[in-house]
Assembly symmetry: C2
Homo-oligomer: 416 residues x 2
């Protein structure tokens, strides 16, 4: 029998009405003769409220306690959705991280899943009970842990892998993965198919619809995955292994991220291992480093090194660097820029086509937008620009790469 | 070393400011050289909100899931108070019901505590860690259970008993047990000392400050207990074994309850076991029967039987009775009255004094208030009256028994 994991995000379970609507989506899948395992996020706004209580009010507490507070959100939804299913005659049972258990490492607030005991889930399916799993949470030796950003996506994909389920459906408040954020680009279109690689780059570079950790697990375990709306009944975005008509399809989407700051270390001695010395303490402090760019030639005595970190981690990063007490380090050769945006152009098509980068530079130049930093991967070009040009850059690139919907009508926008 | 269990009710942890204030009350006790174990309720309003989500929205769900939802409230507070303690330099750790564990029976929504594993708590105290226990919740074979009304009080007293702690301090938003509800009787006074027996009667007959289940456990395990305000720093109400000047003290307090309905079964055959036949299914349906009054003489062929149940359980009760399909039973001999109030006069003094009941009847008669039903215990007289006279009755009795504060000034009212 086909086993489907359905994951409902925060807006898809935002209130009792939405929870009842989610229950009907479960029923629909059951009526097709499939077996369903559900994973839920906290009701929209709940996690923010709990985080506000705990993280904002108490800066110095132990991470363990933050997780006790935060995990309550998904606990509430799992119980409520189980009740909603029971009300429409579907046998259902909620499962919390510690109950299955979903065993994680001890890294509170940002744990990684080590092992999932699927036996209770299989027993449920055998007994025609729909298990509703609280996402985002696990357990480490009798302690509640949480998985960090995108945690419920991660739970859903990890459950799919552990159960060897046939498909993972990620329900959200948009109709799928979009060519760009429709709040910025009115002519953004839904992408019917996106490769795992593209999805990974898009998620890593600002697309919020699915977290990159979840995509990584999906790739690793070869999971069939789709992203679709719980508000509108229409096909979503399928994740696919490779694109058939790669030739026709240079760029798949444009993403942006405005939540990072740029740290430039100027004129640092170009010794073997200098980068390692600098980044080791940042890693130790769990700073989430995104781009790293250095541009020097062999034999240069000094180099400039640029990297980006989440805005909230700038102070931590600077403290880490100062604590190194490196002889060359002073406040005169460290430059922080908070007003930056990262714009990324993503598409597997650029593997086989040159000219994608050149077009990006040209479009931005025509709009008078300076490029500070460039970084590329095989299927992605990212640039850092002045944040005030962010929307303009995204829109211009969206048009330039031929992504605009026909006659400007955006029929696929699922946002309320 | 003296071990004190501090329990903070919902209004005492209603927001971050109150949680920080509660942390300071813990610190005060630690500074006196005592060891402290904390038990918390959900933040005021949270349980209602969660109950509203679950109980109101889903009438037909399994009780198990309601508990998953409801228990989240205390979970949140336990984490937050642990964080608040850490912030002021006190090592602290939250404990949920399943973590200790606090093992209960399988009666979801209204479980009874079977066993508390105190080892983790003792280990905490030995390591100078203040454990903060989520009240109201327990675990039955990997399933979250909740203890029903007054659950956090019950947790606190049970923890005190299990730990053989020296004292249990119940922090609330009033200054202690009052001679009457100060919202009705402006001249109500704080009672400095109340016997366990009196407290049990007061709690059972409408005083909300402490739940009767908690008092029962306190009596059973001989627990030293006091009720005091987390808002105002002044002595609260001590629970005591017996009153020294019983002679001077006829009546300790007046309580009321307006949340019950009266069910009268008229003219039922007076056969041996008739009451048992009637009440067995009600017990089975977990109907919370309060007063039971029957007034017949030996040889009567038929009797009238009156009992009271919570208003919310009237329909359940009637269905239970109808399902019995007793030959004598018809809608003509069953009378339901929702507009009743129970007024109780409580005091150990009445054990040795007659005339307390007579004064009650006289006072009510003078005010033109009819008495429907009378029921007494050794230290209590309860009457059912028309609900519209409730406040008048309480105030009149409060004055008549000499409980009014001098010059009418209510200095002890701790409510905001």
């Amino acid at each position: 029998m086909t086993v489907i994991v359905q994951k409902f995000g925060g807006t898809s379970v935002a209130d009792i009405a939405r929870i009842k609507a989610a229950a009907l989506l479960v029923k629909k899948e059951l009526d097709r003769g499939n077996q369903v395992v559900v994973v839920v996020s906290a009701m929209a706004g709940t996690t923010d409220k709990l985080a506000n209580y705990s993280l904002s009010a108490f800066a110095y507490g132990k991470k363990r306690e933050f997780d006790v507070v935060l995990a309550a959100g998904e606990q509430i939804t799992s119980g409520l959705l189980a009740l909603a299913l029971q009300e429409i005659g579907i046998n259902s049972q909620s499962w919390l991280g510690w109950q299955l258990p979903i065993i994680t490492d001890s890294n509170f607030n940002n744990s990684k899943i080590k092992n999932i005991n699927t036996k209770p889930l299989k027993d449920c399916l055998d007994a025609n009970i729909v298990p509703v799993i609280a996402g985002f949470q696990g357990v480490y030796q009798n302690e509640i842990t949480t998985l960090g950003r995108g945690g419920s996506d991660t739970t859903a994909v990890a459950i799919t892998a552990a159960l060897k389920a046939d498909r993972c459906d990620i329900y959200t408040d948009v109709v799928g993965v979009m060519t760009a954020d429709p709040r910025i680009v009115v002519k953004a279109r839904k992408i019917d198919e996106v490769t795992y690689e593209e999805m990974l780059e898009m998620a890593s570079n600002g697309a919020k619809v699915l977290h990159s950790r979840a995509v990584e697990i999906a790739i690793k375990y070869n999971i069939k995955l789709q992203i679709l709306s719980s508000f509108i009944d229409e096909p979503g975005t399928q994740l696919i292994t490779e694109r058939k008509n790669m030739e026709e399809h240079l760029v798949t989407g444009i993403t942006y991220a405005a939540d990072e700051s740029k740290i430039l270390l100027r004129n640092i001695p170009n010794l073997p291992g200098h980068a390692s010395v600098i980044f080791a303490p940042l890693k130790h402090a769990n700073v989430n480093i995104d781009m790293i760019v250095q541009n020097a030639k062999s034999g240069d005595k000094a180099v400039d090194l640029t990297f980006t970190v989440p805005k909230a981690q700038v102070e931590t990063s600077l403290n880490c660097l100062r604590n190194l007490k490196l002889p060359w380090f002073s406040d005169d050769n460290i430059f922080v820029d908070n007003d930056i945006a990262k714009i990324s152009v993503i598409g597997v098509g650029m593997k086989t086509h040159s000219g994608v980068a050149q077009k990006m530079f040209q479009v931005l130049a025509e709009k008078g937008i300076n490029i500070d930093v460039v970084s590329t991967s095989e299927i992605k070009i990212s640039v850092l620009i002045d944040a005030q040009y962010m929307e303009l850059a995204v829109r211009s690139l969206h048009t330039a790469y031929g992504l605009d919907s026909i006659d400007g009508e955006n029929t696929t926008l699922g946002n309320k």
